[in-house]
Amino acid sequence: MNDTNTQRRQFLKTSVGAAAVAIAPGMLLFDMAHGKSEPVSGKVRWGMLIDTANCADGCNDCVTACNRENGLSGGLSATDSQWIRKIELKDMRTGRELALPMMCQHCEHPPCVDVCPTGASFKRADGIVLVDKHLCIGCRYCMMACPYKARSFVHEPLNDQNPDVPRGRGTVESCTMCVHRVDNGQQPACAEACPNKSILFGDLNDPESEISRKIRSVASTQVRADLGLNTGVRYQGL
């Protein structure tokens, strides 16, 4: 083997190595940015069961965790986004008082998805209702249609966003059920943060999941069940 050939081989080896070193981080970042490549399974339906009896009056941990996780300001003005809020209720006839967290109910038949002109509001196969920030034109018809007042409109330019949770001025947003965490096998931030474990998150379609077993054994209700939307979030003790 002559000298020229050896040099050529050496050159090719080095080039391939350099190319690999140059491309690999990009590929890794591409993978990270795009997450899992396999589609979401329709066999799963993510849901929550919220035990109002354990939801402590004055505790706001779920709200704080949601704001931190999703990069929300936590402001309480009428123009600030609130993806989850604590509602205090008093039965007008009996005087019974209770408190509960309220957010997007991730309906099976979401009115927001029906009315959205561009299809920006959509329901994933696993039941999570989301807004595609690239398609939303900011008409706010979904906010008019939502029976739960679950949606917020971004009224101001945004800074310091969480890279996992893209938001956009002039678009509508709401609870994503922490889809970026759920896709990584984690719990939504509110469920994890609740000190009394009042928010039980799981797969409603799996008969053996904790949430399925619990809704089989205790009485739970859907808010505005009369609308027939079949919400993914259910409440116990309402």
């Binding site: 123009t79 002109p117 034109i137 949606r151 956009g168």
Partner: protein
């Protein structure tokens, strides 16, 4: 007449009015620029009152755009010569108001730069998406109709084109009403009476706008409107006003009968913020009773009275839309019926709304656009109604 008219339209007053309208449109565009720059935070709209003054202007213009075509329909479809002579002007006003209204709706979007997305991504279940087709189709239909009326060779097609527009505008106004009818969870909306109600009030508002424009053109030309035509059109407007009031009354009376709706009706009709005053004074008295008095009182009903009645009907229209759309949102959603609720997000609380200057300018800009299209259209094309003698 045409010569005189063209001379009039070259007068300083004409150019003055066009300049003012242009300035209003520019002010509206500047408001849009500010809203683009700062976001909707500079408007009075918020997470509870998500549709505000721009929507009032836009919906008024769109409804009136449909209603004004009544004049054409009565001419073309029902063969009334007095109305036939006015059909081209009605068509022009319709296109002008539709353009003004849609511009406002579009520029109020959170992301008006993405309007093309509304054309490329189409959700078939959305009534908003249907309306995109209905509105753009309306432009085409009315333009075609105008062509058949203004081009001699096309005259034979005028009747079928008029019939198409007649059907189209019914569907269009139904579509506008259905935007609200489909809101199942809002107590003010979610009722099938809204589309027919919108259709009937569109007749009154469209006629009112037509009267105002026609009177302005005639006064400008120092012409007087044929007494017989005047009487017919005035009486027809009166009938439409009564019919509109009937629908609004039925809407509220039906609500009052449902126990779950009484709180809402109490809010709108008795004690809710500015809404009862706007409803009773703005809509019922100013928008209906006074115009009806001006139209039907034997001592009144003259030209000036008809103009005054028309202006009052327009004011009443804005009041009604404000009460229906803003009031309908201000009343809290009933998420937990039977419970008293409160939260940091305005649950159980009356939503507050004070319109800001930019959004008012945006709305007025839409009116400015409608005015400009009408003024320029009348100036460059032959839209002035010519009396056909012996109207039947």
């Amino acid at each position: 007449m045409t010569t005189n008219f063209s001379t009039q339209l070259r007068s300083p007053l004409y150019y003055g009015l066009v300049t003012i309208a242009t300035l209003i449109v520019l002010a509206g565009l500047y408001a849009v620029h500010l809203m683009e720059d700062h976001g909707h935070i500079i408007t009075g709209m918020n997470n509870q009152i998500v549709w505000g003054i721009p929507h009032i202007f836009a919906i008024f213009l769109v409804i009136a755009a449909s209603g004004v075509l009544n004049v054409s329909s009565i001419g073309s479809v029902f063969n009334k010569p007095a109305y036939k002579a006015r059909a081209p002007l009605a068509g022009l006003l319709s296109i002008a108001m539709l353009a003004g209204g849609l511009t406002v709706l579009m520029l109020d979007l959170g992301r008006p730069d993405r309007i093309i997305v509304a054309a490329t991504n189409y959700n078939i279940t959305s009534v908003f998406a249907w309306n995109i087709l209905l509105y753009s189709g309306m432009f085409a239909a009315v333009a075609l109709y105008l062509w058949t009326m203004m081009e001699k060779r096309m005259y034979p097609w005028s009747k079928p084109a008029g019939f198409m527009v007649f059907i189209w505008r019914f569907i269009l106004t139904t579509g506008t009403g259905v935007i609200f009818s489909f809101l199942v969870a809002r107590q003010a909306f979610g009722t099938a009476i809204l589309p027919p109600m919108f259709i009937v009030i569109s007749f009154a508002w469209g006629m009112a706008v037509f009267h105002i424009v026609q009177s302005a053109i005639y006064a400008w030309n120092k012409l007087s409107l044929d007494e017989y035509v005047q009487k017919r059109m005035r009486n027809l407007m009166g009938v439409f006003v009564i019919a509109g009031l009937y629908f609004v009354a039925t809407y509220h009376l039906t609500n009052l009968y449902f126990a779950r709706q009484t709180e809402f009706e109490k809010f709108i009709l008795l004690d809710g913020d500015v809404y009862p005053a706007l409803f009773w004074l703005g809509y019922v008295v100013i928008g209906n009773l006074l115009p009806l008095l001006l139209i039907y009182h034997p001592a009144l009903g003259k030209n000036k009275c008809v103009i005054a009645a028309s202006l009052l009907i327009v004011m009443g229209g804005f009041s009604l839309l404000y009460v229906l759309i803003i009031g309908g949102q201000a009343f809290p959603l009933s998420i937990f019926p039977g419970f008293e609720v409160h939260s940091t997000f305005g649950d159980g609380a009356i939503g507050s709304y004070s319109p800001s200057m930019p959004e008012i300018l945006l709305g007025l800009g839409g009116v400015g656009i409608s005015f400009l299209i009408s003024a320029v259209g009348i100036r460059v094309l032959d839209f002035v109604p010519r009396e056909i003698p012996k109207s039947n």
